[in-house]
Symmetry: C2
Subunit: 574 residues, 2 copies
C-alpha cells in the first residue's frame, strides 16, 4: 500500500448546518478507516485557502459558493475516500439523532412560553440571521447577548436604538463574554460575586481583567460586554452609556472598570461625563493609549493588568496622591490656555486633552487637536508653543524674550471664559536671567483683575531647571508661588494638575440618558435565558445552575436567502 | 490730557537686525516719555496679527513685507509718538556702540584664526542664512550646534550627510540645547559631570530629563540634542546614530537615554539595533508612545520622568525581573508567529512589535502593521486573530474548535525561519473543555520535530482563566508546561517575554555606521567654540568658563537676497 494519497470532495449546496455539527462531522470522517485527514467548511474563499493549505483540495475546480458546504477527504486509497464521502449524510443524521431530547421549541416565542421569566436571549446564529433573531427578542421585551459576528454596522445601530427606547440592552454583536447576575454568557470565567462592575468593548480584555481581579480574590458584580464597535462614532456608545447608568444604580457595584479601544473623541467625552455621574470610582483603559492621569473619580490606566490593580486601590481609597483643595470655578469659566516656551512640554499637555475635553486648539499638530485658525487669538482650550517657528521670525525665543508671553498672558486672563492658565519656565544658561521676575508680577495682576471681576483665574507653572542653574530654581519657584501660582517641577505633574482642574470646571450639564433606563431586574439573579445558536452556550448556562431553554433554531427557508426574504416580507405584511 | 492714545509706525525696509537689538529697541521705545506701548517686529503676517492684537497697528495700510522691520508705537499724543519714532535710528546706533569691545572677527574663518582649537560652531542666525553658515563651519572642519529654526529639510539632509562623511556632528537645526564636554550650548541647565549620556530630538524633553537626573544627584556625560526632524524618514537618524556610536566609545558614559517623537518605523529599528550595539544600558522614550518592555539592554519607558528613574535603576542593575535563560537561536530562525483566539490579546502583542522589528503582518489592522495578503500563509512576523470574522464563517470560534489552530501550529512550526510561536488559552464556560489536552501534544511534537531538524522552536502560551473555571487553570498550566511551552497568566507578561526573545533572535548584522566616526575629542573638555548669532549664547559660554569667540556676523549683502545670491555664485566660481 505505497500508493499516493487521494483527495476527494463533496458539496452540499445552500444548506444550513450548525457549526458544532460540522466540527463533529469532520472529526467522524477523520476517524474512518483509511482516512488521513478531513475538512468540513462553508466554501468561502478564506476557508478554501485554508483547505488548500492543508493539502485537502484536489487539483480540479470545485463548483461551490460561500453558502455551500464543502467536505474534503484525504485518504489512503480511492476506495477509502469514496466510502468516507458516501457516509456524509448518514453521519449528519446520526448527529441529529444524538441531540434528540425531551422537547425543543423551534421558535423564540414558544421558548419564552416555556420559560417566561427569561429576561435574556443569547444569540449565536450565523451573522446574516443574527440581527433578525435579536430584533425578535427585543420585540418580545428581552435583553440580548449577541455573540454572532459578521453583523452589519447599520443593523447594530438599529438594534441598539430600539433597545434604548425600550429600556433593554443589546450586548454585541461580536460580544464574546458577559457575567450577568453571576451567570456567565458565551465565553466567561468563573468568579466569585463581588463589588467590581466591568464594561468592555473587548471580549478577551474583559476576561483578562476579570481573571486578574479573581486572582486577587476580588469579585465581580456585573461584567458587561458591549461589542467592539459600541464606542464608534456611528453607534455612539449606546450600550456603554446604558451600562454605566445601570452600574450607577446597581447597589452591589462599588467600583467600575471600563475598557475599550480608543473611542471616537466625542464618544469618549460623553462616556467620561457619565462615568463621573456614577459617583463611583472608575478606572478607564483605552487599549494602547497612554494614561492621562485622573479626572476626579475617573482614573486612566495604562494596561489591562494595571486596570485591575488600580481599581482595587481606588476602591479602597489608597490612591490620593493629589492635594484635596478643589476650586469651584464660577459657571462660564471653562477653558484652559497654555502658553509654553518648550515645545515638548506643550505637547505632553496636548496629548492628554482631546480624550477629556473639546474643542482643543493648538499651533502644534496632534490627533484630535484642531489647528488654531488665528495665531493671535485663542479659542476653546488652546495650548500654544510660543517657541514654534511662526512666532520666532525676527524675534528672540520666548525663553529669552518674555514680551510676547506677557502680552498673551494679559490677553488670555482678560477672557472671562478662561479658568486655568498653564505656563512653563525653563531655566539654565542661555535663558532669561530672571523669568520669575518677569512673570510673577503679571500673574499677580491677572489673578487680582479676575478676582475683581468675580472670577477665579488659576495659574499653574512648571519650572524646568536645576538648583545649580544661574537663575537658582528654588528662588524662582518661591517668587512664582508668591504671585499665587501653583508651581511644580515636572510636566507630568503639570498634566495631573490640569486633568484634576478640568474635573472641577463646571462643564455643560451631563445630558440625560436617552431612552428608558434599563431596570435593575434585568441583571439581578436568578438568571434565566433563552439560547439560540451554539448549543454549548446552553450547556454552560445549565452547568452554572441557570435556567435556560435551547431553541432548535433553523434558518428561515432552510438557509435559502431568496425564500427567506419572501417569508420576512409576508411576516411584516401581517 | 484725556486725549485718545495715538498709534503710529515706521518701516525700515529689507535691513537685517539681530533679534536682541530689536528687543532692546522695543524696550527703549516703551520707556520714552508719553509712550504707552511699543512693538518692533519683522513684518510677517503672524507678527502683524500679534501687533494688531496688542492694539499697536494703526487703521491705515502699512506697506511692509516679511523682510522689513516694522516699528509701532502707542503714545499719549501725536507729539510723543512722533518723537519716539524719530529716535529709532539713534537708538539702534546706541545699541551698536554699547556692544563694542576689543576686537570682533567678522567671519567664521577669521574667528577660527583667533581660536583655532574651537571644535564647535554655534549657529543662531536667522533660518534663511543658517544652513550656509553651518556649511561653512563643516568646510572648516568644525562640528555645528545649529540653534536656528526655519531651515528647510533638504538643507538639513545635505548638511548632515556632509558632516557624516567628515566625522563631524550637526546638532539641529532647531536644536535648543546640548551639554558637550560639560559645557552647555544654547539653552542648557547646569549639571554635575556624571555617567549618563542623553540623546534627544526634543529640546525641552532633554532639559526635563537632565534636570530630573540632577535632582536625583546624578550627573551627565554628554547631552546631545539632534533636532526634531533627525529621526524622520528623510533624515534617517543620521545624527542620532553618530551620537549613539560616540556614546558607545565614550568611556565616561555608562548608561544612555534616548528621547524622540515616535520615529519612522525603519529609523526606529535601526536606532534600536545601534542602541544594542553600544552594550550600555539604554532607556528609550518615544514621546506619547506606550512602552513596549525590554529588548535586552534597551528599555522602553512611558514618560520623561520615568526615563530618568529607569535609567538609574537600569544602570545599577536593580532591574532584573526577567529570568536569565537566553536562547541562542540558530541563524536563519527569526520570525515570531502568533496564533490567538482572543483579539485583544493579539492586539496587545501587535502594538509592541512594529517599533522593534519588521516586517509585521496581521489580519488585524494597526499602525505600522501590514495586512497579511494570504490569510492561509504567514510571512515575516505574523500575529493572527483566529477569532476574526474571516475565520469564523461556518466554523466554531477557536476558543471551542482547535482544528484550525492545530493545523496552523503545525504549518508554522514546519517553517524553518520561525523561532517563536505565541498562543493563548482562554478558559471558562463556553470554551473548550480541555484546551491544554489539545495543544500540549501538538506543541511537544512541533518542538521535537524542530529539534530533530537542528532548530529551536520556542513556544509561549498565555492562559487567561481563574482557578474556579471548569477547566482548572492550574492543571491546564501544568499540562502546557510539560509540553515544553513557557506559560504565563497575563498578556503583559507574554509581551515582555516576546520582546526579550526578539532580542535574542539573531537578526541581520548591524550595518556599520556610514561615513567616518566622530572622534571623541569633539566632545571632550576643555570646550572652545565660535558663536555666530545670538550674543547671549556667547555670554553663557564665557560664564561657564569655556573659551569662545563671537563673530560680528552680518547677513551677506546686508540681508538683500538678490545680492546675496550673486555673491554666493561668485564665491562658488572661484
Amino acid at each position: 500500500m505505497s500508493a499516493e494519497p487521494v483527495t476527494r470532495c463533496a458539496v452540499r449546496a445552500g444548506a444550513y448546518y450548525d457549526s458544532v455539527v460540522l466540527m463533529q462531522l469532520q472529526r467522524a470522517l477523520a476517524t474512518l478507516p483509511g482516512v488521513l485527514d478531513a475538512g468540513v467548511v462553508m466554501a468561502t474563499p478564506a476557508n478554501r485557502d485554508l483547505l488548500e493549505a492543508s493539502g485537502l483540495l484536489p487539483g480540479s475546480e470545485i463548483a461551490a459558493g460561500p453558502n455551500d458546504l464543502l467536505i474534503a477527504v484525504k485518504a489512503e486509497s480511492e476506495a477509502a475516500a469514496g466510502e468516507a464521502l458516501a457516509r456524509i449524510d448518514s453521519l449528519l443524521q446520526v448527529r441529529r439523532a444524538e441531540t434528540g431530547q425531551d422537547f425543543r421549541p423551534r421558535s423564540l416565542a414558544s421558548a419564552l412560553k416555556q420559560l417566561p421569566e427569561a429576561r435574556w436571549v443569547l444569540v449565536s446564529v450565523p451573522g446574516r440571521y443574527a440581527a433578525s433573531v435579536a430584533d425578535e427578542a427585543l420585540d418580545l421585551g428581552r435583553n440580548v447577548f449577541l455573540y454572532s459576528d459578521n453583523v452589519p454596522l447599520s443593523e447594530e445601530v438599529a438594534l441598539k436604538r430600539k433597545a434604548r427606547e425600550r429600556g433593554l440592552l443589546v450586548l454585541g454583536p461580536d460580544c464574546g463574554t458577559a457575567i450577568i447576575g453571576g451567570t456567565g454568557f458565551g465565553f466567561s470565567n468563573r468568579v466569585q460575586p463581588g463589588e467590581y462592575g466591568i464594561i468592555s468593548a473587548s471580549g478577551t480584555g474583559l476576561q483578562e481583567v476579570v481573571c486578574f481581579l479573581q486572582g486577587k480574590n476580588q469579585g465581580i458584580s456585573q461584567a458587561i460586554g458591549i461589542g467592539g464597535r459600541d464606542l464608534s462614532a456611528e453607534v455612539g456608545g449606546i450600550t456603554a452609556l446604558q451600562a454605566l447608568d445601570l452600574l450607577r444604580r446597581d447597589p452591589k457595584t462599588e467600583a467600575i472598570v471600563l475598557i475599550s479601544k480608543p473611542p471616537a473623541s466625542e464618544v469618549a467625552q460623553r462616556l467620561i461625563s457619565f462615568a463621573h455621574a456614577t459617583g463611583k470610582p472608575t478606572v478607564v483603559y483605552f487599549l494602547g493609549a497612554p494614561p492621562v492621569g485622573r479626572l476626579q473619580e475617573v482614573w486612566f490606566t495604562r494596561s489591562l493588568d494595571s486596570a485591575a490593580d488600580d481599581v482595587i486601590e481606588l476602591r479602597y481609597g489608597k490612591r490620593s496622591d493629589w492635594e484635596d483643595w478643589p476650586i469651584h470655578f464660577p459657571a462660564g469659566q471653562r477653558w484652559v490656555r497654555g502658553l509654553f516656551s518648550g515645545g515638548t512640554l506643550a505637547l505632553e499637555v496636548l496629548r492628554t486633552l482631546p480624550a477629556l475635553v473639546s474643542p482643543v486648539f493648538s499651533n502644534l499638530s496632534y490627533p484630535g487637536v484642531h489647528p488654531l485658525p488665528d495665531s493671535a487669538h485663542s479659542q476653546g482650550h488652546t495650548i500654544l508653543d510660543l517657541g514654534a517657528d511662526e512666532y520666532t521670525v525676527g524675534r528672540l525665543h520666548p525663553m529669552i524674550d518674555f514680551d510676547l508671553r506677557l502680552r498673551r498672558l494679559k490677553q488670555e486672563a482678560a477672557d472671562p471664559e478662561v479658568a486655568l492658565l498653564l505656563l512653563d519656565v525653563v531655566l539654565g544658561d542661555g535663558a532669561h536671567a530672571d523669568p520669575a521676575g518677569e512673570l510673577a508680577p503679571a500673574i499677580e495682576r491677572a489673578k487680582a483683575d479676575a478676582k475683581a471681576a468675580g472670577r477665579i483665574l488659576d495659574v499653574a507653572v512648571v519650572v524646568v531647571g536645576t538648583d545649580l542653574d544661574p537663575q537658582d530654581a528654588k528662588r524662582q519657584i518661591a517668587t512664582l508661588k508668591q504671585s499665587g501660582a501653583w508651581v511644580c517641577r515636572t510636566v507630568a505633574h503639570l498634566v495631573s494638575y490640569t486633568v484634576q482642574r478640568l474635573g472641577e470646571i463646571r462643564g455643560d450639564e451631563i445630558p440625560p440618558l436617552e431612552g428608558r433606563p434599563v431596570p435593575l431586574a434585568a441583571v439581578s439573579p436568578p438568571v434565566a435565558a433563552i439560547n439560540v445558536g451554539l448549543e454549548s452556550f446552553y450547556d454552560s448556562l445549565i452547568s452554572q445552575g441557570a435556567r435556560a431553554v435551547h431553541v432548535d433554531w433553523k434558518p428561515p427557508a432552510g438557509g435559502n436567502e431568496k425564500m427567506a426574504g419572501i417569508l420576512a416580507r409576508m411576516k411584516r405584511s401581517r
